[in-house]
Amino acid sequence: MTAQGADRELEGVMSAQARTAEPPLVVEHVAKSYDLDGRIMPVISDLSLILRVGEIISIVGPSGCGKTTLLNTLCGLLLPDSGHILWHGREVFGQPQNVGYMLQKDLLLPWRTALGNTMLGLEIRGVATAEAEDRGRAMLDQLGLHGFADHYPSTLSGGMRQRVALARTLVNEPDVLLLDEPFASLDFQSKLLIENDTVGLVRQGRRSLLLITHDIEEAVSLADRVIVLSKRPTKVKAVYDIELGSERTDMMAVRENPGFSHYVRSIWADLDVVRQ
Protein backbone atom coordinates (compact mmCIF):
# COMPACT_ATOMS: atom_id res chain seq x y z
CA MET A 1 0.00 0.00 0.00
CA THR A 2 1.22 3.48 -0.73
CA ALA A 3 1.75 6.06 1.97
CA GLN A 4 -1.25 7.89 0.67
CA GLY A 5 -3.43 4.81 0.98
CA ALA A 6 -2.21 4.22 4.53
CA ASP A 7 -2.94 7.84 5.35
CA ARG A 8 -6.42 7.51 4.07
CA GLU A 9 -6.93 4.34 6.06
CA LEU A 10 -5.69 6.04 9.22
CA GLU A 11 -8.03 8.90 8.52
CA GLY A 12 -10.84 6.37 8.14
CA VAL A 13 -10.05 4.78 11.51
CA MET A 14 -9.85 8.13 13.23
CA SER A 15 -13.09 9.39 11.82
CA ALA A 16 -14.71 6.04 12.63
CA GLN A 17 -13.73 6.59 16.26
CA ALA A 18 -15.08 10.09 16.16
CA ARG A 19 -18.25 8.82 14.60
CA THR A 20 -19.03 6.25 17.27
CA ALA A 21 -19.32 9.05 19.79
CA GLU A 22 -21.73 11.17 17.78
CA PRO A 23 -24.52 10.11 15.42
CA PRO A 24 -23.70 11.72 12.07
CA LEU A 25 -27.19 13.10 11.60
CA VAL A 26 -29.74 14.25 14.15
CA VAL A 27 -32.98 15.91 13.07
CA GLU A 28 -34.93 17.66 15.84
CA HIS A 29 -38.49 18.88 15.32
CA VAL A 30 -37.94 20.20 11.83
CA ALA A 31 -40.83 22.01 10.16
CA LYS A 32 -40.97 23.39 6.64
CA SER A 33 -43.69 25.09 4.63
CA TYR A 34 -43.91 26.74 1.25
CA ASP A 35 -45.39 30.07 0.35
CA LEU A 36 -47.57 29.56 -2.70
CA ASP A 37 -48.79 32.98 -3.87
CA GLY A 38 -49.39 34.13 -0.32
CA ARG A 39 -50.96 30.86 0.79
CA ILE A 40 -48.83 29.08 3.33
CA MET A 41 -48.68 25.38 2.62
CA PRO A 42 -47.15 23.32 5.42
CA VAL A 43 -45.17 20.39 4.04
CA ILE A 44 -43.32 19.03 7.07
CA SER A 45 -45.08 19.67 10.37
CA ASP A 46 -42.76 18.05 12.89
CA LEU A 47 -40.05 15.56 12.13
CA SER A 48 -37.31 14.09 14.25
CA LEU A 49 -34.93 11.24 13.58
CA ILE A 50 -31.46 10.00 14.46
CA LEU A 51 -29.18 8.34 11.94
CA ARG A 52 -26.41 6.42 13.71
CA VAL A 53 -23.01 5.36 12.42
CA GLY A 54 -23.26 2.46 9.99
CA GLU A 55 -27.02 2.50 10.09
CA ILE A 56 -29.38 2.27 7.13
CA ILE A 57 -32.72 4.02 7.47
CA SER A 58 -35.47 3.92 4.87
CA ILE A 59 -38.13 6.57 4.78
CA VAL A 60 -41.43 5.70 3.15
CA GLY A 61 -44.55 7.77 2.90
CA PRO A 62 -47.57 8.37 0.72
CA SER A 63 -47.05 10.17 -2.58
CA GLY A 64 -46.42 13.87 -2.26
CA CYS A 65 -45.73 13.73 1.47
CA GLY A 66 -42.70 15.99 1.24
CA LYS A 67 -39.93 13.39 1.17
CA THR A 68 -37.93 15.32 -1.37
CA THR A 69 -38.41 18.54 0.58
CA LEU A 70 -37.04 16.73 3.61
CA LEU A 71 -33.99 15.58 1.70
CA ASN A 72 -33.28 19.01 0.25
CA THR A 73 -33.62 20.50 3.71
CA LEU A 74 -31.16 17.98 5.14
CA CYS A 75 -28.67 18.81 2.37
CA GLY A 76 -28.82 22.48 3.16
CA LEU A 77 -30.44 23.31 -0.17
CA LEU A 78 -33.53 24.53 1.70
CA LEU A 79 -33.74 26.16 5.14
CA PRO A 80 -36.15 24.68 7.71
CA ASP A 81 -38.71 27.08 9.25
CA SER A 82 -37.95 25.73 12.69
CA GLY A 83 -36.11 22.88 14.37
CA HIS A 84 -32.51 21.78 14.13
CA ILE A 85 -30.44 19.63 11.84
CA LEU A 86 -27.22 18.48 13.45
CA TRP A 87 -24.45 16.97 11.35
CA HIS A 88 -21.92 15.28 13.63
CA GLY A 89 -23.42 17.21 16.52
CA ARG A 90 -23.20 20.61 14.93
CA GLU A 91 -25.54 22.82 12.99
CA VAL A 92 -24.20 23.55 9.53
CA PHE A 93 -24.81 26.58 7.39
CA GLY A 94 -24.85 25.74 3.70
CA GLN A 95 -23.88 22.28 2.51
CA PRO A 96 -22.80 19.68 5.06
CA GLN A 97 -19.41 18.06 4.47
CA ASN A 98 -18.93 14.39 3.63
CA VAL A 99 -22.49 13.84 2.55
CA GLY A 100 -23.31 12.07 -0.70
CA TYR A 101 -26.53 12.87 -2.48
CA MET A 102 -28.20 10.91 -5.22
CA LEU A 103 -31.54 11.19 -6.99
CA GLN A 104 -33.74 9.12 -9.26
CA LYS A 105 -32.36 11.13 -12.17
CA ASP A 106 -28.75 10.12 -12.63
CA LEU A 107 -27.74 13.72 -13.41
CA LEU A 108 -24.67 12.56 -15.30
CA LEU A 109 -23.00 15.25 -17.37
CA PRO A 110 -23.36 14.10 -21.00
CA TRP A 111 -20.05 15.65 -22.05
CA ARG A 112 -18.09 13.67 -19.49
CA THR A 113 -17.25 10.00 -19.76
CA ALA A 114 -18.23 7.59 -16.98
CA LEU A 115 -14.80 8.20 -15.42
CA GLY A 116 -15.09 11.98 -15.86
CA ASN A 117 -18.46 11.94 -14.12
CA THR A 118 -17.14 9.78 -11.31
CA MET A 119 -14.22 12.16 -10.75
CA LEU A 120 -16.43 15.25 -10.59
CA GLY A 121 -16.52 15.59 -6.80
CA LEU A 122 -12.81 14.88 -6.40
CA GLU A 123 -12.03 17.43 -9.09
CA ILE A 124 -14.16 20.04 -7.35
CA ARG A 125 -12.31 19.44 -4.11
CA GLY A 126 -8.99 19.84 -5.88
CA VAL A 127 -7.71 16.26 -5.67
CA ALA A 128 -4.78 15.76 -8.09
CA THR A 129 -5.94 14.42 -11.45
CA ALA A 130 -3.83 11.24 -11.39
CA GLU A 131 -5.11 10.27 -7.94
CA ALA A 132 -8.70 11.19 -8.84
CA GLU A 133 -8.45 9.03 -11.95
CA ASP A 134 -7.13 6.06 -9.99
CA ARG A 135 -9.83 6.34 -7.37
CA GLY A 136 -12.50 6.86 -10.01
CA ARG A 137 -11.41 3.80 -11.97
CA ALA A 138 -11.23 1.68 -8.81
CA MET A 139 -14.74 2.77 -7.82
CA LEU A 140 -16.14 1.97 -11.28
CA ASP A 141 -14.46 -1.44 -11.16
CA GLN A 142 -16.00 -2.13 -7.76
CA LEU A 143 -19.44 -1.36 -9.17
CA GLY A 144 -18.97 -3.73 -12.09
CA LEU A 145 -18.25 -1.07 -14.70
CA HIS A 146 -14.79 -2.27 -15.62
CA GLY A 147 -14.14 -1.40 -19.26
CA PHE A 148 -16.81 1.31 -19.39
CA ALA A 149 -14.75 4.14 -17.89
CA ASP A 150 -14.31 5.90 -21.22
CA HIS A 151 -17.93 5.54 -22.35
CA TYR A 152 -20.19 8.55 -22.57
CA PRO A 153 -23.45 8.28 -20.56
CA SER A 154 -25.50 8.28 -23.77
CA THR A 155 -24.01 4.90 -24.66
CA LEU A 156 -24.82 3.27 -21.29
CA SER A 157 -28.02 1.54 -20.13
CA GLY A 158 -30.19 3.02 -17.39
CA GLY A 159 -28.81 0.62 -14.79
CA MET A 160 -25.22 1.37 -15.76
CA ARG A 161 -25.83 5.10 -15.68
CA GLN A 162 -27.22 4.82 -12.17
CA ARG A 163 -24.15 2.79 -11.21
CA VAL A 164 -21.96 5.62 -12.49
CA ALA A 165 -24.03 8.05 -10.40
CA LEU A 166 -23.49 5.78 -7.39
CA ALA A 167 -19.75 5.68 -8.13
CA ARG A 168 -19.71 9.48 -8.32
CA THR A 169 -21.33 9.57 -4.87
CA LEU A 170 -19.23 6.87 -3.19
CA VAL A 171 -15.83 7.91 -4.57
CA ASN A 172 -15.93 10.97 -2.27
CA GLU A 173 -16.07 8.55 0.67
CA PRO A 174 -19.04 10.22 2.31
CA ASP A 175 -19.91 9.43 5.94
CA VAL A 176 -23.58 9.72 5.09
CA LEU A 177 -25.48 8.96 1.91
CA LEU A 178 -28.80 10.61 1.21
CA LEU A 179 -30.57 8.78 -1.58
CA ASP A 180 -33.90 9.95 -3.00
CA GLU A 181 -35.58 7.07 -4.85
CA PRO A 182 -32.28 6.32 -6.58
CA PHE A 183 -33.37 3.05 -8.16
CA ALA A 184 -37.01 3.84 -8.90
CA SER A 185 -36.61 4.00 -12.66
CA LEU A 186 -34.70 0.71 -12.99
CA ASP A 187 -36.06 -2.69 -13.93
CA PHE A 188 -36.36 -5.24 -11.13
CA GLN A 189 -33.15 -7.16 -11.91
CA SER A 190 -30.92 -4.11 -12.27
CA LYS A 191 -32.50 -2.73 -9.16
CA LEU A 192 -31.75 -5.79 -7.01
CA LEU A 193 -28.17 -5.95 -8.23
CA ILE A 194 -27.43 -2.29 -7.59
CA GLU A 195 -29.18 -2.52 -4.19
CA ASN A 196 -26.92 -5.41 -3.25
CA ASP A 197 -23.83 -3.45 -4.27
CA THR A 198 -24.98 -0.31 -2.51
CA VAL A 199 -25.66 -2.09 0.76
CA GLY A 200 -22.40 -4.01 0.48
CA LEU A 201 -20.33 -0.88 -0.02
CA VAL A 202 -22.18 1.07 2.67
CA ARG A 203 -21.74 -1.70 5.26
CA GLN A 204 -18.14 -2.32 4.29
CA GLY A 205 -17.24 1.36 4.68
CA ARG A 206 -19.22 1.76 7.92
CA ARG A 207 -21.16 4.54 6.25
CA SER A 208 -24.68 5.63 7.13
CA LEU A 209 -27.49 5.65 4.61
CA LEU A 210 -30.77 7.50 4.53
CA LEU A 211 -32.92 6.11 1.74
CA ILE A 212 -36.10 7.80 0.65
CA THR A 213 -38.30 5.47 -1.38
CA HIS A 214 -41.79 4.63 -2.57
CA ASP A 215 -40.97 0.97 -2.74
CA ILE A 216 -41.90 -0.74 0.54
CA GLU A 217 -40.03 -3.94 -0.34
CA GLU A 218 -36.91 -1.95 -1.09
CA ALA A 219 -37.31 -0.05 2.18
CA VAL A 220 -37.63 -3.23 4.25
CA SER A 221 -34.97 -5.27 2.48
CA LEU A 222 -32.23 -2.65 2.77
CA ALA A 223 -32.82 -0.97 6.09
CA ASP A 224 -32.13 -1.44 9.78
CA ARG A 225 -35.00 0.89 10.44
CA VAL A 226 -37.99 2.01 8.39
CA ILE A 227 -39.64 5.32 9.20
CA VAL A 228 -43.17 5.71 7.91
CA LEU A 229 -44.29 9.26 7.28
CA SER A 230 -47.85 10.54 7.39
CA LYS A 231 -49.63 12.49 4.68
CA ARG A 232 -48.84 16.18 4.32
CA PRO A 233 -48.18 18.03 6.61
CA THR A 234 -45.70 15.30 7.35
CA LYS A 235 -44.74 13.81 10.65
CA VAL A 236 -43.40 10.42 11.72
CA LYS A 237 -46.25 7.94 11.81
CA ALA A 238 -44.47 4.74 12.72
CA VAL A 239 -40.97 3.35 13.13
CA TYR A 240 -40.01 -0.27 12.49
CA ASP A 241 -36.77 -1.87 13.57
CA ILE A 242 -36.13 -4.43 10.86
CA GLU A 243 -34.66 -7.53 12.42
CA LEU A 244 -33.67 -9.60 9.43
CA GLY A 245 -29.95 -9.71 10.20
CA SER A 246 -27.93 -6.52 9.79
CA GLU A 247 -25.20 -8.12 7.70
CA ARG A 248 -27.48 -9.16 4.85
CA THR A 249 -26.35 -8.08 1.43
CA ASP A 250 -28.54 -10.30 -0.74
CA MET A 251 -31.78 -8.49 -1.38
CA MET A 252 -33.37 -11.50 -3.06
CA ALA A 253 -32.67 -13.88 -0.17
CA VAL A 254 -34.11 -11.37 2.29
CA ARG A 255 -37.45 -11.59 0.53
CA GLU A 256 -37.70 -15.28 1.45
CA ASN A 257 -37.47 -14.51 5.16
CA PRO A 258 -40.93 -15.00 6.76
CA GLY A 259 -40.50 -11.75 8.68
CA PHE A 260 -40.09 -9.82 5.45
CA SER A 261 -43.67 -10.02 4.23
CA HIS A 262 -44.92 -9.29 7.73
CA TYR A 263 -43.05 -5.98 7.76
CA VAL A 264 -44.18 -5.15 4.23
CA ARG A 265 -47.82 -5.77 5.12
CA SER A 266 -47.71 -3.71 8.31
CA ILE A 267 -46.08 -0.79 6.54
CA TRP A 268 -48.55 -1.01 3.68
CA ALA A 269 -51.37 -0.79 6.26
CA ASP A 270 -49.67 2.21 7.90
CA LEU A 271 -49.47 4.06 4.62
CA ASP A 272 -53.26 3.99 4.64
CA VAL A 273 -53.57 4.04 0.88
CA VAL A 274 -57.18 4.68 -0.04
CA ARG A 275 -58.46 2.39 -2.74
CA GLN A 276 -60.63 4.18 -5.26
Binding site: N72, C75, L77, Q95, Q97, V99, G100, Y101, L103, K105, L107, L109, P110, W111, R112, L120, G121, E123, I124, R125, Y152, P153, S154, T155, N172
Partner: protein, 283 residues
Protein backbone atom coordinates in the same frame (compact mmCIF):
# COMPACT_ATOMS: atom_id res chain seq x y z
CA UNK B 1 -25.39 -38.16 -29.13
CA UNK B 2 -22.51 -36.03 -30.34
CA UNK B 3 -24.37 -35.40 -33.58
CA UNK B 4 -27.33 -34.20 -31.57
CA UNK B 5 -25.18 -31.78 -29.62
CA UNK B 6 -23.63 -30.58 -32.83
CA UNK B 7 -26.95 -29.82 -34.46
CA UNK B 8 -28.07 -28.09 -31.27
CA UNK B 9 -24.89 -25.99 -31.30
CA UNK B 10 -25.08 -25.19 -34.97
CA UNK B 11 -27.31 -22.11 -34.77
CA UNK B 12 -25.14 -20.47 -32.09
CA UNK B 13 -21.89 -21.01 -33.98
CA UNK B 14 -23.42 -19.61 -37.12
CA UNK B 15 -24.90 -16.56 -35.46
CA UNK B 16 -21.98 -14.10 -35.94
CA UNK B 17 -22.34 -14.44 -39.70
CA UNK B 18 -26.07 -14.09 -39.43
CA UNK B 19 -25.89 -10.96 -37.30
CA UNK B 20 -23.34 -9.41 -39.69
CA UNK B 21 -25.74 -9.71 -42.62
CA UNK B 22 -28.61 -7.62 -41.18
CA UNK B 23 -26.04 -4.93 -40.25
CA UNK B 24 -24.79 -4.72 -43.83
CA UNK B 25 -28.38 -4.77 -45.09
CA UNK B 26 -29.33 -1.95 -42.74
CA UNK B 27 -26.31 0.10 -43.83
CA UNK B 28 -27.22 -0.41 -47.48
CA UNK B 29 -30.83 0.56 -46.74
CA UNK B 30 -29.70 3.78 -45.06
CA UNK B 31 -27.36 4.60 -47.96
CA UNK B 32 -30.13 3.94 -50.46
CA UNK B 33 -32.50 6.28 -48.58
CA UNK B 34 -29.85 9.03 -48.61
CA UNK B 35 -29.23 8.55 -52.33
CA UNK B 36 -32.95 8.64 -53.09
CA UNK B 37 -33.31 11.93 -51.23
CA UNK B 38 -30.32 13.40 -53.08
CA UNK B 39 -31.64 12.21 -56.44
CA UNK B 40 -35.08 13.71 -55.74
CA UNK B 41 -33.49 17.02 -54.75
CA UNK B 42 -31.40 17.08 -57.94
CA UNK B 43 -34.46 16.21 -60.03
CA UNK B 44 -36.45 19.08 -58.51
CA UNK B 45 -33.53 21.47 -59.15
CA UNK B 46 -33.14 20.26 -62.75
CA UNK B 47 -36.88 20.55 -63.41
CA UNK B 48 -36.94 24.06 -61.98
CA UNK B 49 -33.89 25.16 -64.02
CA UNK B 50 -35.15 23.67 -67.30
CA UNK B 51 -38.59 25.21 -66.82
CA UNK B 52 -36.91 28.56 -66.15
CA UNK B 53 -34.66 28.18 -69.18
CA UNK B 54 -37.55 27.15 -71.41
CA UNK B 55 -39.85 30.01 -70.29
CA UNK B 56 -37.18 32.67 -70.74
CA UNK B 57 -35.89 31.43 -74.12
CA UNK B 58 -39.40 31.78 -75.59
CA UNK B 59 -39.99 35.29 -74.32
CA UNK B 60 -37.43 38.12 -74.41
CA UNK B 61 -39.24 40.20 -71.75
CA UNK B 62 -39.12 37.21 -69.43
CA UNK B 63 -35.46 36.76 -70.29
CA UNK B 64 -34.77 40.37 -69.34
CA UNK B 65 -36.83 40.27 -66.15
CA UNK B 66 -35.73 36.93 -64.79
CA UNK B 67 -32.46 36.14 -66.54
CA UNK B 68 -31.97 32.53 -67.49
CA UNK B 69 -29.88 29.71 -66.08
CA UNK B 70 -27.65 29.71 -69.16
CA UNK B 71 -27.09 33.48 -68.93
CA UNK B 72 -26.36 33.18 -65.20
CA UNK B 73 -23.86 30.41 -65.93
CA UNK B 74 -22.29 32.64 -68.57
CA UNK B 75 -21.82 35.48 -66.09
CA UNK B 76 -20.42 33.06 -63.51
CA UNK B 77 -17.88 31.92 -66.10
CA UNK B 78 -16.98 35.49 -66.90
CA UNK B 79 -16.62 36.37 -63.19
CA UNK B 80 -14.26 33.41 -62.75
CA UNK B 81 -12.23 34.34 -65.85
CA UNK B 82 -11.71 37.98 -64.85
CA UNK B 83 -11.06 36.88 -61.24
CA UNK B 84 -13.64 39.28 -59.74
CA UNK B 85 -15.57 36.43 -58.12
CA UNK B 86 -12.55 35.44 -56.02
CA UNK B 87 -11.82 38.99 -54.92
CA UNK B 88 -15.49 39.70 -54.09
CA UNK B 89 -15.93 36.43 -52.24
CA UNK B 90 -12.73 37.02 -50.29
CA UNK B 91 -13.79 40.53 -49.24
CA UNK B 92 -17.34 39.57 -48.25
CA UNK B 93 -16.11 36.34 -46.62
CA UNK B 94 -13.57 38.27 -44.54
CA UNK B 95 -16.16 40.84 -43.42
CA UNK B 96 -18.61 38.07 -42.56
CA UNK B 97 -16.08 35.99 -40.64
CA UNK B 98 -14.75 38.91 -38.62
CA UNK B 99 -18.26 40.13 -37.83
CA UNK B 100 -19.27 36.57 -36.96
CA UNK B 101 -16.32 36.10 -34.58
CA UNK B 102 -16.47 39.47 -32.86
CA UNK B 103 -20.27 39.41 -32.54
CA UNK B 104 -20.41 35.84 -31.22
CA UNK B 105 -17.46 36.34 -28.90
CA UNK B 106 -18.96 39.36 -27.17
CA UNK B 107 -22.55 38.12 -27.38
CA UNK B 108 -21.69 34.73 -25.89
CA UNK B 109 -19.43 36.16 -23.18
CA UNK B 110 -22.10 38.61 -22.07
CA UNK B 111 -24.92 36.07 -22.41
CA UNK B 112 -23.14 33.44 -20.32
CA UNK B 113 -21.92 35.88 -17.69
CA UNK B 114 -25.48 37.17 -17.20
CA UNK B 115 -26.10 33.75 -15.59
CA UNK B 116 -23.88 34.92 -12.75
CA UNK B 117 -26.18 37.58 -11.46
CA UNK B 118 -29.93 37.37 -11.48
CA UNK B 119 -29.99 41.03 -10.47
CA UNK B 120 -27.89 42.25 -13.39
CA UNK B 121 -29.73 40.07 -15.91
CA UNK B 122 -33.10 41.44 -14.78
CA UNK B 123 -31.78 45.01 -14.92
CA UNK B 124 -30.44 44.69 -18.47
CA UNK B 125 -33.26 42.56 -19.90
CA UNK B 126 -35.43 45.43 -21.30
CA UNK B 127 -32.35 47.09 -22.79
CA UNK B 128 -31.39 43.91 -24.59
CA UNK B 129 -34.92 43.48 -25.94
CA UNK B 130 -34.87 47.10 -27.11
CA UNK B 131 -31.49 46.70 -28.82
CA UNK B 132 -32.58 43.42 -30.36
CA UNK B 133 -35.62 45.01 -31.96
CA UNK B 134 -33.62 47.63 -33.90
CA UNK B 135 -33.49 46.71 -37.59
CA UNK B 136 -29.80 46.73 -38.41
CA UNK B 137 -30.41 48.26 -41.85
CA UNK B 138 -31.68 51.37 -40.11
CA UNK B 139 -28.26 51.74 -38.46
CA UNK B 140 -26.30 51.46 -41.71
CA UNK B 141 -26.11 55.20 -42.51
CA UNK B 142 -24.88 55.99 -38.99
CA UNK B 143 -22.37 53.15 -39.08
CA UNK B 144 -20.88 54.60 -42.25
CA UNK B 145 -20.60 58.02 -40.61
CA UNK B 146 -18.90 56.46 -37.60
CA UNK B 147 -16.66 53.89 -39.25
CA UNK B 148 -16.19 55.23 -42.79
CA UNK B 149 -16.84 53.45 -46.06
CA UNK B 150 -14.09 50.83 -45.78
CA UNK B 151 -13.91 47.33 -44.36
CA UNK B 152 -14.51 48.37 -40.74
CA UNK B 153 -18.04 49.62 -41.32
CA UNK B 154 -19.04 46.29 -42.92
CA UNK B 155 -17.52 44.35 -40.04
CA UNK B 156 -19.43 46.60 -37.65
CA UNK B 157 -22.69 45.93 -39.51
CA UNK B 158 -22.00 42.22 -39.48
CA UNK B 159 -21.09 42.25 -35.77
CA UNK B 160 -24.26 44.13 -34.85
CA UNK B 161 -26.38 41.65 -36.81
CA UNK B 162 -24.90 38.83 -34.75
CA UNK B 163 -24.27 40.06 -31.23
CA UNK B 164 -27.81 40.21 -29.79
CA UNK B 165 -28.78 36.82 -31.20
CA UNK B 166 -25.61 35.28 -29.78
CA UNK B 167 -26.28 36.94 -26.43
CA UNK B 168 -29.87 35.73 -26.21
CA UNK B 169 -29.17 32.13 -27.30
CA UNK B 170 -26.23 31.68 -24.94
CA UNK B 171 -28.13 33.26 -22.04
CA UNK B 172 -31.06 30.96 -22.74
CA UNK B 173 -28.67 28.01 -22.68
CA UNK B 174 -27.12 29.13 -19.40
CA UNK B 175 -30.38 29.68 -17.50
CA UNK B 176 -31.85 26.48 -18.93
CA UNK B 177 -29.45 24.29 -16.95
CA UNK B 178 -31.30 21.68 -14.86
CA UNK B 179 -31.61 23.05 -11.29
CA UNK B 180 -31.18 19.51 -9.93
CA UNK B 181 -27.80 19.40 -11.63
CA UNK B 182 -26.83 22.69 -9.97
CA UNK B 183 -27.98 21.29 -6.62
CA UNK B 184 -25.83 18.22 -7.22
CA UNK B 185 -22.79 20.41 -7.90
CA UNK B 186 -23.53 22.32 -4.69
CA UNK B 187 -23.73 19.15 -2.63
CA UNK B 188 -20.38 18.14 -4.11
CA UNK B 189 -19.05 21.39 -2.68
CA UNK B 190 -18.68 23.35 -5.91
CA UNK B 191 -18.19 27.11 -5.77
CA UNK B 192 -20.26 29.35 -8.02
CA UNK B 193 -17.35 29.68 -10.44
CA UNK B 194 -16.87 25.89 -10.52
CA UNK B 195 -20.56 25.44 -11.28
CA UNK B 196 -20.21 27.99 -14.06
CA UNK B 197 -17.11 26.46 -15.60
CA UNK B 198 -17.84 22.76 -15.16
CA UNK B 199 -21.60 22.79 -15.67
CA UNK B 200 -23.11 25.96 -17.12
CA UNK B 201 -20.61 26.59 -19.92
CA UNK B 202 -20.51 23.05 -21.33
CA UNK B 203 -24.27 22.65 -20.85
CA UNK B 204 -24.82 25.81 -22.90
CA UNK B 205 -22.66 24.60 -25.79
CA UNK B 206 -25.61 23.10 -27.67
CA UNK B 207 -27.51 26.40 -27.55
CA UNK B 208 -24.37 28.36 -28.39
CA UNK B 209 -23.84 26.26 -31.50
CA UNK B 210 -27.49 26.64 -32.49
CA UNK B 211 -26.82 30.37 -32.26
CA UNK B 212 -23.63 30.06 -34.30
CA UNK B 213 -25.44 28.29 -37.11
CA UNK B 214 -28.16 30.93 -37.10
CA UNK B 215 -25.74 33.85 -37.01
CA UNK B 216 -23.63 32.70 -39.97
CA UNK B 217 -26.50 33.89 -42.16
CA UNK B 218 -27.02 37.06 -40.14
CA UNK B 219 -23.33 37.97 -40.35
CA UNK B 220 -23.44 37.55 -44.13
CA UNK B 221 -26.59 39.68 -44.42
CA UNK B 222 -24.94 42.38 -42.28
CA UNK B 223 -21.85 42.44 -44.49
CA UNK B 224 -23.88 42.58 -47.70
CA UNK B 225 -26.19 45.32 -46.41
CA UNK B 226 -23.06 47.25 -45.44
CA UNK B 227 -21.74 46.83 -48.98
CA UNK B 228 -25.05 48.02 -50.40
CA UNK B 229 -24.69 51.34 -48.61
CA UNK B 230 -21.24 52.13 -49.94
CA UNK B 231 -18.49 49.94 -51.20
CA UNK B 232 -16.02 49.35 -54.01
CA UNK B 233 -15.83 45.56 -53.83
CA UNK B 234 -17.52 42.50 -52.37
CA UNK B 235 -20.49 40.33 -53.36
CA UNK B 236 -22.96 42.93 -52.09
CA UNK B 237 -21.21 45.49 -54.25
CA UNK B 238 -21.45 43.20 -57.30
CA UNK B 239 -25.17 42.56 -56.66
CA UNK B 240 -25.90 46.24 -56.15
CA UNK B 241 -23.96 47.35 -59.23
CA UNK B 242 -25.46 44.71 -61.53
CA UNK B 243 -28.92 45.52 -60.18
CA UNK B 244 -28.64 49.23 -60.83
CA UNK B 245 -27.47 48.46 -64.39
CA UNK B 246 -30.44 46.09 -64.91
CA UNK B 247 -28.12 43.14 -65.59
CA UNK B 248 -30.38 40.68 -63.81
CA UNK B 249 -28.53 37.45 -64.70
CA UNK B 250 -25.41 38.94 -63.11
CA UNK B 251 -27.38 39.70 -59.93
CA UNK B 252 -28.38 36.05 -59.82
CA UNK B 253 -24.81 34.95 -60.56
CA UNK B 254 -23.53 36.93 -57.55
CA UNK B 255 -26.41 35.55 -55.46
CA UNK B 256 -25.42 31.99 -56.36
CA UNK B 257 -21.89 32.72 -55.10
CA UNK B 258 -23.34 34.27 -51.91
CA UNK B 259 -25.44 31.16 -51.27
CA UNK B 260 -22.39 28.97 -51.84
CA UNK B 261 -20.44 31.06 -49.33
CA UNK B 262 -23.23 30.76 -46.75
CA UNK B 263 -23.39 26.97 -47.24
CA UNK B 264 -19.62 26.66 -46.87
CA UNK B 265 -19.56 28.68 -43.64
CA UNK B 266 -22.50 26.71 -42.17
CA UNK B 267 -20.74 23.48 -43.09
CA UNK B 268 -17.57 24.61 -41.28
CA UNK B 269 -19.55 25.54 -38.14
CA UNK B 270 -21.18 22.09 -38.22
CA UNK B 271 -17.77 20.41 -38.45
CA UNK B 272 -16.42 22.46 -35.53
CA UNK B 273 -19.53 21.56 -33.52
CA UNK B 274 -18.93 17.84 -34.03
CA UNK B 275 -15.29 18.32 -33.11
CA UNK B 276 -16.06 20.22 -29.89
CA UNK B 277 -18.95 18.04 -28.72
CA UNK B 278 -17.72 14.48 -29.28
CA UNK B 279 -20.26 13.06 -26.81
CA UNK B 280 -23.06 13.87 -29.25
CA UNK B 281 -21.52 11.69 -31.93
CA UNK B 282 -21.83 8.37 -30.11
CA UNK B 283 -25.57 8.47 -29.63
Amino acid sequence: MTAEIETAMAPTTKSPVETARPFAARRWKRLRAALTILATQLAILAAFLSLWEHATSANSVFAFMFGSPSAIAGFLGQMVRDGSVFRDTYVTGLETLLGFFVGNLFGTLIGLSLWYSRFVSRVVEPFIIALGSIPIIALAPIIIIWFGTGLVSKIAMSTLSVVIVALVTSYKGAVGVDPDQINLMRTLGASKFQIFRKLVVPASLADIFAGLKLTVGFALIGAIVGEFMSSSEGLGHAIFKAGSLYVIPKVFAALVVTIALALLLTFIVGKVERLLMPWRRQI
